[in-house]
């Protein structure tokens, strides 16, 4: 299964896929991560995993406007980004389980899922680590004379890191086609971001003179619609823009997080529930949706089973690839 990018879907004249397709992609991410959570709890997935439950609308809505040749740099919470950009679900599970045929041959795991062939430049274990990489990738697009762009995702907590500021300045200074996408879930690990950041991204972007837009990050259509406009703008003007989406981190910072620190009273806003009721309002049959969900579940189950059967990598093979080989293009 591969959550394809727009091009391959071939919806003519649509700026982004219709809601049913967006919903399908969100369900895929949710179902995949549900399995991740369970497999982590069961000890089948080791390390740290940060689920994006509640934030699927941003991944899916943003990626809906991107082409295969557009690039993204992601964060520690990168499953949704990776799958939405086109990382194959098989490569995904195999990587998280640390298998030899995982996306990264089991060397990176959840925090480093990457698929360069679809322009996914990697999740990143360093808060802010992907921002300057996206900046360089956007500059490459520009210097190459393409109308491609680069997108960097980052959380609200990352705004405290100097690299974000260095990058905003350079993006505007050199008019680099890079889209800064802030997923504002209100949390930096175990702390409300309001206890860490004194400014709003809106005012910051204004200071840098970079166009700023925001939308409800739980409404996938709103995310897709705004992103389509902004991506269009970035493609045409070859300069940066900032997008901010208010979103909800439904689960803990990472799996295993007891969330004792958390005392939200309202039930979490769920982008899937929102999309689903919109679809039903528009007359899509609930049975049809259920069938789709079941199909996704079984497809994911298949991927998980296959991953379980995959082989473990060996150190002897891994050590061959510490360096790219001189004279051999990668």
């Amino acid at each position: 299964m591969n959550l394809e990018t727009n091009e391959s879907i071939g919806i003519s004249n649509a700026r982004y896929p219709e809601l049913l397709e967006l919903y399908r992609r969100m369900v895929t991410i949710r179902e995949a991560e549900k399995n991740c959570g369970a497999m982590f709890a069961a000890g089948e997935i080791p390390g740290f995993i940060h689920l994006s439950d509640g934030q699927e609308a941003v991944s899916v809505g943003v990626m809906a406007s991107l082409r295969a040749d557009d690039t993204i740099a992601s964060t520690h919470r990168g499953h949704g980004h990776a799958l939405a950009k086109g990382l194959h679900i098989d490569a995904f599970f195999r990587e998280l389980m640390g298998k030899a045929d995982g996306a990264c041959k089991g060397r990176g795991g959840s925090m480093h899922v990457a698929d360069l062939s679809v322009g996914m430049l990697g999740a990143n274990g360093i808060v802010g680590g992907g921002v300057a990489i996206a900046l360089g990738s956007g500059l490459a697009q520009k210097l190459r004379g393409s109308d491609g762009l680069a997108v960097c995702f980052f959380g609200d907590g990352a705004l405290a890191e100097g690299i974000v500021h260095e990058s905003l300045n350079i993006a505007q200074l050199k008019t680099i086609p890079v889209l800064f996408v802030c997923e504002n879930n209100g949390w930096s690990e175990f702390s409300p971001t309001s206890t860490q950041i004194t400014f709003t991204l809106e005012r910051l972007a204004a200071a840098y003179g970079i166009p700023y837009y925001n939308a409800d990050g739980s409404d996938v259509e709103k995310v897709a619609e705004l992103t389509a406009d902004v991506v269009e703008h970035v493609r045409r003007h070859r300069g940066p823009a900032v997008l901010e989406f208010a979103t909800t981190r439904i689960r803990g910072h990472y799996e295993g997080d007891s969330q004792r620190y958390r005392n939200d009273t309202a039930p979490p806003v769920d982008p899937l529930a929102i999309a689903r009721s919109l679809l039903e309002e528009r007359g899509i049959d609930a049975n049809e949706l259920a069938a789709m969900e079941t199909e996704i579940q079984s497809e994911i189950q298949r991927a998980v089973e296959a991953a379980r059967l995959s082989t473990d990598p060996t150190l002897e093979t891994a050590i061959q690839e510490v360096y790219a080989i001189v004279g051999v293009a990668a």
Partner: protein
């Protein structure tokens, strides 16, 4: 006596230091309200308040730089950098500022700060959350580097690090946090720079530090059953390291192995080997062997990481290669 975990020994050390010296303040990400990612600072906020246990935004370079300013202002800041891999963001503050200040200002002032961080694999945290980079800091005049292996040392060396008038990097191994043991009451002060003989022996010296000390002990145990008596030295401090103790042991055993979890090449073991190949040359009856991680990033998969981290078996192999 109650059993304590390694992480709690550090917690207790911080607690006791905070209680006895009001100039000590803690800064770090999620160390106050949340009590630290590894629960090392749990409970301290309640006891000492938000003016002394200070939650910081995700801004490592600024945190480290602030510690320099606090130290110059009469405080003894103890900062936490969540993973040693994130030390990459503090290098200017630590290396260009903190380490050099006392010297560069002609002996004016000092920078009594401690950077607590944790290194090492064992929990499949992957290439950006597992590195052992202590050799970098040991190369920098003006810094001290401590890597405790036992509960008592975690407690006592942290006291010494806090009381030291110089910037000290205090490196905890994440795999040790859950380790249980008994923390001795009323420990005597443990000076930085003094090694500990973890096990006495006469045929070969195994120098180690941090979590690898346990693999060295296991190796020694196995070797003993073959009639080879290995002496295990726990360096405790890698800058300054206890040259005298290593030399004394080598002079007794005439064989030397150095083991650490960090990448072997250009690691801490290189300096110890090099120094002994100079001053201990006449004592050596066989090649100096090092055991460290292979020259690759720390891989994620269980199947990889388990082979990546040096084992007792590899230490035994190295001991044999000294021609013992």
């Amino acid at each position: 006596m109650n059993e304590t975990r390694f992480a709690q020994a550090i917690n207790r050390s911080l607690d006791d230091a905070l209680a006895r010296d009001s100039s000590i303040v803690l800064l770090g990400e999620d160390i106050a309200n949340a009590g630290g990612t590894f629960a090392v600072t749990r409970g301290l906020l309640d006891k000492y308040g938000a003016d002394r246990i200070i939650d910081m935004p995700i801004a490592e370079n600024a945190i480290a730089g602030m510690a320099v300013g606090l130290a110059l202002g009469g405080f003894k800041p103890v900062i936490e950098i969540m993973f040693m891999d994130f030390m990459t963001l503090t290098m200017d503050a630590l290396v260009n500022q903190a380490a050099k200040l006392h010297f560069m200002f002609g002996g004016q002032g000092s920078v009594p700060m401690v950077v607590r961080t944790q290194h090492g694999g064992g929990i499949n945290a992957g290439p950006q959350h597992s590195q052992c980079l202590e050799a970098w800091f040991a190369h920098i005049p003006g810094l001290k580097v401590v890597v405790p292996a036992t509960l008592d040392d975690a407690y006592a060396l942290l006291q010494s690090a806090i009381d030291d008038p110089n910037p000290v990097l205090f490196v905890e191994n994440k795999a040790l946090y859950p380790m249980k043991g008994v923390l001795t009451d009323d420990l005597p002060p443990t000076p930085l720079g003094k090694a500990r003989i973890a096990r006495a022996g006469s045929d070969v010296t195994i120098v180690s530090y941090g979590a690898m000390v346990y693999q060295a002990m296991e190796a020694a145990e196995q070797l003993a059953s073959e009639g080879i008596s290995a002496e295990v030295l726990d360096l405790r401090t890698v800058q300054p390291w206890d040259e005298e103790a290593v030399f004394a042991s080598l002079s007794k055993t005439h064989r030397l192995v150095i083991a650490h979890e960090a990448v072997e090449a250009f690691g801490v073991g290189a300096e110890i080997a090099a120094r002994m190949a100079q001053i201990g040359f006449d004592e050596l009856d066989g090649p100096i062997m090092r055991v460290g991680a292979p020259f690759m990033p720390v891989p994620f998969a269980r199947a990889l990481e388990v082979d990546y981290i040096p084992s007792a078996a590899r230490i035994i192999e190295a001991v044999r290669a000294t021609d013992v």
